[in-house]
Symmetry: C2
Subunit: 319 residues, 2 copies
Amino acid sequence: MVQQAAPEVLICEVGPRDGLQNEPETLPTAVKRELVERLVRTGLRRIEITSFVSPRWIPQLADGEALAASLARPDGVVYSALVPNARGYERFSGVGGLGVAAVFASASETHNRKNVNRSIAAQLEEIRLVSERAHADGVRVRAYVSTVCGCPYEGEVALRAVVELAERLLDLGADEISLGDTIGIGHPRQVRELVAAVAAEIPLDRVALHMHDTYGRALANVQAGYEAGVRAFDASLGGLGGCPYAPGASGNVATEDVLDLFERAGVRTGVELDALVDTTQWLQDEILRRPLPGRVFRARLGARRGAAECAPGGAGDAE
Amino acid sequence: MVQQAAPEVLICEVGPRDGLQNEPETLPTAVKRELVERLVRTGLRRIEITSFVSPRWIPQLADGEALAASLARPDGVVYSALVPNARGYERFSGVGGLGVAAVFASASETHNRKNVNRSIAAQLEEIRLVSERAHADGVRVRAYVSTVCGCPYEGEVALRAVVELAERLLDLGADEISLGDTIGIGHPRQVRELVAAVAAEIPLDRVALHMHDTYGRALANVQAGYEAGVRAFDASLGGLGGCPYAPGASGNVATEDVLDLFERAGVRTGVELDALVDTTQWLQDEILRRPLPGRVFRARLGARRGAAECAPGGAGDAE
């Protein structure tokens, strides 16, 4: 096989974790395994496969150990899993072969407390413990920062709060930061300013953007982040992962939509978009049996069926 | 009432025309009338109410004369209608009180022929006739340019073809140009280059962007167009107007999504977003009784119901 030029952006596929944890169904472990294997075959190289948050809160992902144990470890593919605290890390490390432990903290104190019932300071203490153990095991640490563009409780979140938290997380041992617009409220100029502020303190090659499409702005925000220098973006196949509290409201940005945005602009992603479309179609039509919100996979499937394009006048002469 | 500062962007609402012509239902004239009246009450000042393309092709809008005759003409509101040729203009002028006749031509020869069964040159001759009559009647002319970012038949469309056609349309009497990404394939850098090329020949205050969301990029493209200097944008409430040939594929960008993009960035639109959300909810729930694709109206309705926000860890401590 001809060696292809290296990808210019890194797409971190979070569907099996951030997607499934926000969907009502609990898929069998074997189905999750097939999903991850299909995703690997598309060329995706970073896949978040599960969460070690307590099954009391995330029953959909209670089978994290079993899933992780069932997966092959293909060369060049890095699996990550969400790790909420030191106890969660015990579960993570019990599995073995997972390359990235993903911790999280909110830039908003209220949101952090509502989300995990502790202060940011206490959260950082857990993260310190997890990082120490992870590094001792040769595992990398990703730190999600939530509410970077706004908080459902506090409203505006100061840029300074985001930057300081990101710096603190790196000090505690995080190898990479994923900046999350948890409620999808960010807009492009805001994302540009956020990235610039972060870039002043942290090398951008350690920063990913995790945009939500609640208000339809995820791709516009990805574009702004890319123009500001970010080269890693989280996404979920088909846009899997609408918020369970607002049925029909979209959450995660669809991986195909992000891929096509880059491909059209000539930016190499390293992912086979058509293969991913196949995977999303399988997930939608054979497993979930309900529509996923992504735009590109639906348009691609329509094009395969030979759907014609619409035009203002309709066919033929008007009289 | 305190006088508000003037809007900074003009939103051209095309739902009653470009939306309804691409939906399967034919709504009664009384319902269309109520739709337009509700839209007027939101503060929208440019509304495309119907099309005088032959009912043979667009049966959904066969009642153009009756609808137009039934509408009041509120101060400050401009109604437009699609006019395919000189005969269509006879119907338009028979109504009276419509401020803008909207003609159209494709930047792609193949698309023009497939769409209206004549060459661009022949189309321009019709447009010349329409413009002469319209101006004699004190009516303004808007010219839609289709396939500005790509053609379903020819693929790439040269920037030069778009610019030259836009110039020609202005020479023939068009007062404004709406650049349409008919198949939604455009991406932000491309839109930026397109607008720059057009701006070199045409004052941007005569240019609007008509973006489609087929690949989820409409808002990213609107943002790019705004940053490049465009200040008028076409949109359709709730994203009404999916392509009839590709069920579920999205077409028109949702007006609420465009409004919220601007409002969040502090750009005045002159439109009451919540009132428009109410209108879209009415249209979706009481008239069409099926989901519309827009993001913002759905998120706003969810927020009104007090839906909580999602977060990575789930509530509570993980063990």
